[in-house]
């Protein structure tokens, strides 16, 4: 028997023992619970990493969100229990609804899920989606009508790409209160990370597309790009201008209609895509312009679609100017041949006539024929010399021999040379020289004589009887206007249609002003073009010369580092000038 005094001690010890046992049990339980929770958390993390890796491996974070969702849906059963996992994707004309059944449910269950998902989308978009077409696909387990289990647990995850709602993902079950917040959150995290990756990829693609679009926009050629179904995916302003589409995005039908009768654009695109071949239409005439058109298939050079034909491109190259230049060249050649043929024909005829002894005996007739021979051969020689000069200028083989020369003396001699012609034509010819002219300038005297002679000859040719031709020469200072400087020495100057002369560096200016027919602006623009000049000269048969003189003048002056210019007004007269830099 225990002594009565020991009982309280035993009671205390027993209490302590039980307390230790209870605390130990609770502690172990807490530690075990913590370990389990840690284990679950590790599993969740593992799932998160695994699924994101799978998404990346299988789609390379494709731009196609549906592919990404299919991967997530396909592996979700490793992590969550569910009856159905489904997604809805918005497109302009319909909603794609796909449900994957893990276990059999009734069609009412699917209908219920579909309604809830549409309500979620509707709430997010702020508009009613009741009338929109829903394209439904059910995969996985079969639906059984005798299963009368409604939706008891579900949660939705909005799908957002680049701040735009693209759809919703829903996980649902027939059991009630099934999903824990941590489980739902992990799926939110996975979906959000995948969406962000797609968003970033889209941004990269958009940036790259922007660069290509900017390049296409700035192209002079009209460019039209279509997809495989001939829907236009890009056009640049030049292409829109070709078909006269000022506003809005053109469709392929705009191009088909515009080129109706000239080119079957759709047919050419089909041909290029089917044959996988670049087609070139060398020339079509459309809206008063000539175009060279290239139609080519477009192949993907990257990613999974590498090598696939993605669509077609049509490039419109405006060749109107090339055609005009080609025509000018052709006209020039035929006119030149004609101009050479006329004097040659004369020489031949005169030669034939002079073979007759009767003509040779007639001294007066012989003398006339010899003069005609001289004129015809001189005319030919002038033309050939001019052509040779132009050819040398164009080939950059026009040599000038700069020597110290007195420009005043040169001009005085030229004026004296043309005095007789001027008198004969009833034209007043004079020379005005400015002050402070240098005694000598460096120039090729022979070629400058040719230039001055050409300007004087032209002026006399185009000035009517009673008119005046003034040769003038003065020193120009940069920043001053030539017309003002000419006025200072009392010389006439036609400023009309003359570009600014203030930027011309310090120079000697030689000019010839006449009171002749004058020229319109469009004629001035053609003055120094060998093709147009020669043609107009041939048409104006009452004025002598090849018309190439001014082309040669320009070449000679520019070889000296100077410039040539014109001021003219139809019915008033003209001023032609050239400069020799000081």
């Amino acid at each position: 028997m225990f002594q009565s005094g020991l009982l309280p001690v035993i009671a205390v010890l027993l209490t302590l023992y039980f307390a230790v046992v209870v605390f130990s049990y609770l502690g172990v339980r807490r530690i075990r619970r913590g370990a389990l929770e840690k284990d679950r958390e590790a599993k969740r993390r593992l799932y998160e990493l695994a699924i994101l890796k799978e998404v990346a491996d299988r789609t390379g974070y494709s731009l196609n969100i549906q592919k990404v969702l299919d991967v997530i849906v396909g592996s979700l059963n490793q992590f969550l229990e569910y009856s159905a996992v489904s997604y809805m994707l918005l497109s302009p004309s319909k909603i794609v609804f796909k449900a994957d059944l893990e276990r059999s449910v009734s069609s009412q269950f699917i209908k219920d899920i579909r309604t809830r998902m549409l309500s979620a989308l509707s709430a997010l978009l702020g508009r009613d989606l009741a009338g929109i077409e829903v394209e439904e696909t059910i995969t996985g387990a079969i639906t059984l009508e005798d299963i009368d289990e409604p939706v008891r647990s579900y949660f939705n995850i909005p799908l957002v790409i680049g701040a735009e709602l693209v759809g919703v993902l829903t996980v649902s079950h027939t059991k009630e209160g099934l999903y824990k917040e941590s489980e739902m959150e992990i799926l939110y995290k996975v979906v959000n990370q995948a969406s962000q990756a797609v968003t970033k990829l889209e941004e990269v693609v958009k940036t790259e597309q922007g660069k290509v679009a900017a390049m296409v926009e700035s192209m002079i050629e009209g460019v039209v790009m279509t997809d495989i179904d001939y829907r236009i995916i890009a056009t640049n302003p030049a292409a829109k201008e070709i078909i006269g589409k000022k506003e809005g995005a053109p469709t392929i039908f705009d191009f088909i209609d515009a080129f109706k009768g000239a080119l079957d654009i759709r047919g050419k695109l089909e041909e290029a895509i089917k044959l996988d071949k670049v087609l070139t239409i060398d020339e079509i005439f459309f809206n008063n312009k000539y175009y060279k058109i290239v139609v080519s298939p477009v192949r993907s050079s990257v990613g999974l679609t590498r090598g696939q034909i993605l669509g077609g491109v049509v490039i419109f190259h405006d060749i109107t100017h090339e055609k005009e230049a080609e025509k000018m060249r052709s006209d020039f050649t035929s006119m030149m041949v004609h101009e050479l043929r006329s004097p040659l024909g004369n020489i031949k005829k005169i030669g034939e006539m002079m073979r007759s002894s009767k003509i040779l005996e007639d001294k007066q007739a012989s003398s006339e024929y010899v003069s005609m021979l001289y004129e015809s051969s001189s005319s030919m020689l002038n033309l050939v010399n001019d052509l040779l000069d132009v050819a040398r200028l164009e080939a950059g083989k026009f040599d000038i021999d700069k020597q110290s020369m007195d420009i005043r003396t040169l001009l005085a001699e030229q004026v004296k040379f043309f005095e007789a012609t001027a008198q004969g034509a009833g034209i007043n010819l004079k020379l005005l020289v400015g002050e402070k002219m240098p005694n000598y300038v460096m120039a090729d005297a022979k070629r400058i004589t040719q230039v001055a002679g050409n300007l004087l000859s032209n002026a006399l040719n185009y000035t009517p009887k009673g008119g005046a031709v003034t040769a003038l020469c003065f020193v120009h200072k940069k920043g001053m206007i030539l017309g003002d400087e000419a006025a200072a020495i009392g010389a006439p100057w036609v400023r009309d249609n003359m570009p600014s002369t203030a930027e011309i560096p310090d120079s000697i200016v030689v000019a010839v002003t006449d009171t002749g027919e004058g020229l319109a602006k469009e004629q001035i623009d053609k003055l120094f073009n060998k093709f147009t000049q020669f043609a107009s000269s041939v048409r104006q048969s009452d004025h002598k010369g090849t018309g190439l003189g001014l082309v040669i003048v320009k070449g000679i002056v520019e070889s000296h580092g100077g410039t040539v210019g014109v001021g003219s007004k139809a019915g008033t007269g003209s001023t032609f000038y050239f400069t020799l830099p000081l």
């Binding site: 809830r116 309500s119 979620a120 709430a123 949660f155 209160g177 959150e185 959000n192």
Partner: protein
Amino acid sequence: MEQTEQYKAVMSEIIAKQSVILGPDMAIMRAKKVSGIDIGDNGEVTGIDGDSADALKRLIDTYVELSGQIVRNALGPIFTKYPDIKHSN
């Protein structure tokens, strides 16, 4: 309506809307975690402790944190019904 009551009504409507968008389980679970708001099992706000405007902001932020700005955009029509309520939506 007293202003606190207005806040309670607004918050209840927000939770109801988020229940449609996210599903009721998720919407109510998230709302229950927001400090300063008492929520019934049906998602109705029964009481607010402290500043109502702050509580409202915390409630909206918890949904934005979960699924982004898109859920904030969906709240516009609710606030138009309560012009006196201060919010940063």
